[in-house]
Assembly symmetry: C2
Homo-oligomer: 301 residues x 2
Amino acid sequence: MGGDLAPKQVLDGVSLLLENLPDDVILVLYGDKSSVDLSILSHKSVEVVHTTQVIEMCQHPAKAFQSLTDSSITVGFQHLKQGKIDAFAGAGNTGAMLVGGMYTVKTIPGVIRPAITTMIPKEHGGYGVMLDVGANSDCRPDILLQFGLLGQLYAKFMLNIETPKIGLMNIGEEEEKGNLLTQATHKIMKETDSLNFIGNIEGRDLFNDKADVIVCDGFVGNIILKNTESFFRLLTKRKIKDEFFDRFNYEDYGGSPILGLNKPVIIGHGMSSPVAIQNMIKHAIGLCKSSLIEKIAAEFN
Amino acid sequence: MGGDLAPKQVLDGVSLLLENLPDDVILVLYGDKSSVDLSILSHKSVEVVHTTQVIEMCQHPAKAFQSLTDSSITVGFQHLKQGKIDAFAGAGNTGAMLVGGMYTVKTIPGVIRPAITTMIPKEHGGYGVMLDVGANSDCRPDILLQFGLLGQLYAKFMLNIETPKIGLMNIGEEEEKGNLLTQATHKIMKETDSLNFIGNIEGRDLFNDKADVIVCDGFVGNIILKNTESFFRLLTKRKIKDEFFDRFNYEDYGGSPILGLNKPVIIGHGMSSPVAIQNMIKHAIGLCKSSLIEKIAAEFN
């Protein structure tokens, strides 16, 4: 039921995926069962859990998550916690998805704060990641350090980058540049052995090869992400077709994982198209198969 | 002597400007007199002040400004302070230009911190401004409130927008959204009568018509600015020509004024081309003719 275009676009995305669903995957849909076509309902790898409530995009995340106990998000997270499903993905209320994750499956022991992680297309091919892009508006240096570790593990095990380069988003390359937060963060990132820290990067370095993992607080990351999305929209509106800029399309990767939770959780774009939904579910399957969560837990243990 | 391509590109920019210099303007150049062509030297509206030192782009701003007393930046600011010139513009070391302004002509009484201000091309025509884009990495709510006032006056008297709309860069439209700084800033911006505050805007709103003046701290603004510049560079590199995106070209307005100082000061891009230099000087002339500084001083009095 999640997203501005649900449930139709979500179900169309499911239909797309079902054409090529791996044999070892079962898709569990949470929502209004009466809206699901027979072609999906009757599929051998699909289960539908009927829910009667919906957390709207504008509702207060924590309040809605707790009061709407039969909403698709709340029931989904309960099932995730109980082990009835292995991963949960949704294009609904971002805050409710975040709160739901933290209330039910909880953060991995040792992780201070989970981070919403987005893919960044690189000019010379491939992807990097940027985190956090919205879960934590105010951060401390030790929290940003952990974002670096979370991103490093994602880049290694999901993007198959052997030794990911970790960069700190800042306003100058030199160590002493930045605000109080990034100055202090630079210091501890430089000192730790567990991070392949390459130093500060700047706003202009998002798409080049300097860093595979870009670390920032959720305030800065969210603004960068939305600024970048607005470029993509402007290009699309102006009918500019270009191989590189086409890769800005969030549909390609479908969603942003919340890293640092005990289970795989992915948040989709509120405007998710069927292609985006399909790729969001594939992304969730990839998270399960990579055992990324177990690897993060081992690192933070 | 300022910028990566000085003095050649700077002098080429001067030559361009001299073809159409208004009669009531005298251009005073600071730098190595031997590098100036006779065509410029002999021009009736040009004076050259020979200086023997240069503050390099990589030097520590405050130290260099104080020790290199015969540098083009230091001598220029002394002349500005003494009233020998009415405005000072340079494409050199940004920090030294900022420090120079604060040490010599100083901030307008009542202004807590000056702000570097950049032009933002709007999708449907015209420009807006964003400030601060790099002078103040850590800000307080009262400082951001003042940035709103400074930007409002610039938009009114330089961009001729009768009632400029002031927006606070944030990560959600709702009042309670944001980090501690923007939450507190929103509150005082909403309460003041002197600001035409339209509320929060987001990273996606940079180029639309929601706000004419975008307020943010220098850390966030610098990252947005460089992110935006990297888009322009990528488009240029990929040979994508487009009427709107062409307006991203900083050459068109030539430089970023430091608002809040007692005299007009403009910082040019380190890579300024002759066209950018020409437009930076025109921008400085515009600042003088608009009496913007006097209007800011009256507002803060």
